[in-house]
């Protein structure tokens, strides 16, 4: 298994508050690593620091040996680290198909001028990617929804479309920020099934923030436990289950 992501000593300070405190870990190809911890533990901040939305005070992030730390969010996404958002990041006024197509933006060929003049190079690539987007929706049994306004979907459907959009470009690394929150048990099970398939069949390395402990235990290969910005434990689900620090800091409360 190759190492995809290497996070080393990552810290983020917001004017006095240490939201992320010297966190290190690696993520392997095809692995699912869960990040758990109470609210305000710094999980989303960790994602923001990896994906370029906040500048780390110190520490580095590498993807396959290449440093990402100084890149902007769109550059990091282009390198192959893609993410979803805790509060949902769909574009409600665009259709489901258009939303998935935005995930293929960098894959579509043709310069601004090619597009402006309607040159066949741009049109051909656009058509190919529309086809690809429809195929991806079909895999998730969402193809009948292609022309629906994304804002009109149910919460569960929105989460699934957001994931389809995020993985459309076949990124090696995927960061999912509470993808199952607010979902019905059936939709949760479907979400976990999707995560399993992405990791198992496509070899995507997945970082997963999730609150439901039973889901985490079932889905993750390794778990990183955070509290107050710092890592308090790290290990397999079995190891975490036994860990006293975890029991006290986190599991004890839930």
């Amino acid at each position: 298994m190759t190492e995809l992501l290497h996070v080393n000593g990552l810290s983020v300070r917001f004017s006095g508050l240490t939201a992320l405190d010297d966190v290190s870990f690696t993520l392997q190809e095809g692995a699912v690593r869960a990040v758990i911890g109470p609210n305000g533990a710094g999980k989303s901040t960790l994602f923001n620091a990896i994906s370029g939305y906040v500048t780390p005070t110190s520490g580095t992030v590498h993807l396959k040996g290449q440093e990402l730390t100084k890149l902007t969010p769109h550059e990091i996404a282009e390198q192959g680290v893609r993410r979803t958002f805790q509060n949902g990041g769909l574009f409600p006024e665009l259709t489901v198909l258009e939303n998935v197509l935005t995930g293929l933006h960098a894959q579509i060929e043709g310069s601004f001028l090619d597009i402006l003049l309607g040159r066949s190079k741009a049109l051909k690539s656009e058509a190919e990617n529309i086809h690809r987007a429809r195929e991806l929706l079909k895999l998730m049994s969402m193809d009948h929804m292609a022309d629906t306004r994304a804002g009109d979907l149910s919460g569960g459907q929105q989460r699934i479309v957001e994931i389809v959009r995020t993985v459309a470009s076949d990124p090696p690394v995927l960061l999912l920020d509470e993808p199952a929150v607010g979902l019905s048990p059936v939709a949760r099970a479907q979400m976990m099934e999707i995560i399993h398939r992405l990791a198992g069949e496509k070899g995507v390395g997945i970082l997963l923030i999730e609150h439901a402990v039973e889901l985490v235990m079932a889905a993750a290969d390794r778990i990183l436990v955070m509290a107050a910005g710092a890592r308090i434990a790290e290990g397999t689900p079995e190891e975490i289950r036994e860990d006293r620090a975890v029991l006290e800091a986190y599991l004890g409360h839930s």
Binding site: G89, T95, L101
Partner: protein, 327 residues
């Protein structure tokens, strides 16, 4: 609630309809008098002005009001290049577009420095007023309050004061720019523009360079409206600073809203309807402004999404989407 999308047959029909409109318009000079032709020429200019405006405030969702500044820059560029440098007017159109694009670049630099919403609105309004001040205070170049007349000129042996000749040129420019804008919107670029409006943070996470999308949209908007300025200079034959003040901005804003924010079809409808309306209101001397305001308000109350939404309800061929299916 699923949107009804056009079938492939309807898409072909739409393509036909798109080209049928300008082709039929080619015949209008046969059926109109000089005055009506002048009004129609003004409509074509308003279509481009409204199109450029709606791209920025509707599609990109930025509260930028530099549109009239782009228009004035284009008009003065065309007039100055014609009158002072002796360039054939037709050649000033792309140059006016380029200077309008430069105006767009300047306006976008405010948005890209994080100046947004009301702050962007006020700074772009100030940009427009600054340009008006510049026209007034650079008399040797612009003629100041006296304005700047365009020189007499002929094309194909016909005087450029001929409204029929102007009509054909304006129509060609309008069709090219509307088609190019549709090409842009119905592509990854158009989706990126909409994505920035909907959720700029999420847009960047999809490897879309948001700053470049904002910059490019402003530049293209400035180009379209700058070209419209060059047409306007020839349309009226004499450019004055007063043509590029708040009144023009408000009228264009009304056209954007009456047509439907962020809609190309809406830009066309809003421009056509609100350019024609004052002509019909001439029957009510002294009440024109009042009726104009009431009608605009009534349309917006009845149809907050503009006239384009009415057509969308009539037929799916009017549904505007941001991808291009082969037909």
């Amino acid at each position: 609630m699923s949107t009804t999308m056009p079938t492939s047959r309807q898409r072909r029909l739409r393509t036909w309809a798109f080209w049928a409109v300008p082709v039929l318009l080619l015949l209008t000079p046969l059926a109109t008098n000089a005055y009506t032709q002048f009004i129609i020429n003004g409509m074509l200019i308003s279509i481009l002005v409204t199109l450029g405006f709606t791209l920025v405030i509707g599609n990109l969702g930025q509260l930028a009001f530099a549109n009239t500044a782009f228009f004035g820059i284009g008009a003065y560029a065309s007039a100055i290049l014609s009158a002072k440098l002796g360039l054939p007017w037709i050649m000033t159109i792309p140059l006016a577009g380029a200077l309008g694009a430069l105006g767009g670049f300047l306006a976008s630099s405010a948005a890209l420095r994080g100046i947004r919403s009301y702050y962007l609105a006020i700074i772009t309004l100030a940009f427009g007023e600054l340009m008006r001040w510049a026209y007034l205070h650079t008399k040797p170049l612009t003629g100041g309050t006296d304005g700047l007349p365009l020189p007499r000129e002929t094309m194909f042996g016909i005087s450029l004061s001929d409204d029929t000749l102007k009509f054909y040129i304006f129509l060609a420019v309008t069709v090219v720019l509307v088609k190019a804008t549709l090409n842009l919107l119905r592509s990854r670029f158009g989706r990126a523009v909409m994505a920035v409006r909907e959720n700029e943070v999420a847009t960047a996470s999809l490897a879309i360079p948001t700053a470049r999308v904002i910059l490019t949209t402003f530049i293209w908007s400035g180009f379209v409206v700058g070209c419209a300025g060059a047409l306007f200079a020839r349309h009226v034959g004499h450019v004055f600073p007063e043509s590029f003040g708040m009144l023009h901005l408000i009228a264009s804003f009304a056209m954007v809203l009456v047509g439907g924010l962020g809609s190309v079809l809406g830009a066309v409808l809003g421009a056509v309807v609100l350019t024609a309306l004052p002509e019909y209101l001439r029957a009510f001397p002294g009440m024109e402004e009042l009726f104009f305001g009431l009608i605009v308000a009534a349309v917006l109350v009845a149809m907050p999404l503009g006239l384009a939404s009415l057509l969308r309800r009539l037929s799916p061929i009017f549904v505007e989407r941001y991808y291009r299916e082969e037909s």
